[in-house]
């Protein structure tokens, strides 16, 4: 699956998306990202995730082919 990255998350890894094995839920994905990318751990812990353009909780299932994004705390306006 593809996870879109923005803002500091993108700068920390130097890429705007990453490919990762399928995760069943957002919580699984958060844990896996933290293990695979220690540099992201601190930010991933306080970030939201979006599944198909909607905020998702850790229990939200991730359907096949979903568009998934890691959303660090927002600062628009």
């Amino acid at each position: 699956m593809t996870v879109l990255l923005f803002a500091r998350a993108r700068d920390l890894l130097g890429i705007d998306r990453l490919e990762i094995d399928e995760a069943a839920t957002v919580g699984d994905l958060r844990r896996r990202l933290t293990q695979l990318y220690p540099k992201l751990a601190g930010l991933a812990a306080v970030s939201a995730f979006a599944v198909n353009n909607e905020f998702a909780s850790d229990t939200t299932p991730i359907p096949a082919n979903a568009e998934v994004a890691l959303l660090p705390p927002v600062s628009g306006g």
Partner: protein, 137 residues
Amino acid sequence: MIRLTRAAIDYLALTEEVRRGDCGAVVLFLGTVRELTGERVTVALDYDAYPAMAEKKMAEIEAETRKRWPVGAMILEHRLGHLEVGDISVAVAVSCPHRVEAFEACRYAIDRLKELVPIWKKENWADGSTEWVHPGA
């Protein structure tokens, strides 16, 4: 109506767009790039977004606002890219029949935008360093 743009926000045109004969009140909020955060000096901000979701959330905020107040017309517009001190980053224009509801609707819309819409700013400090702004991170 909601818009993401990389061009300068034309707040006069946008204010004209929401004026209507059945609305006696127009409220315009502009967010502009501020030079000082505490004692640190900003020279510019770079705004990034997750555009598809940002547009979806902004449309939802417009719908929520219209449910709560008798909005005639409203525009939520956010600029992306490189902005310098004084540039307008965001505009919310709302028309309603009366002023109280126009003020409340405009305040609600900008507060929700800052809370929910996936847009991020990066500080370009005067000392040459840069820093993404992630409240609480």
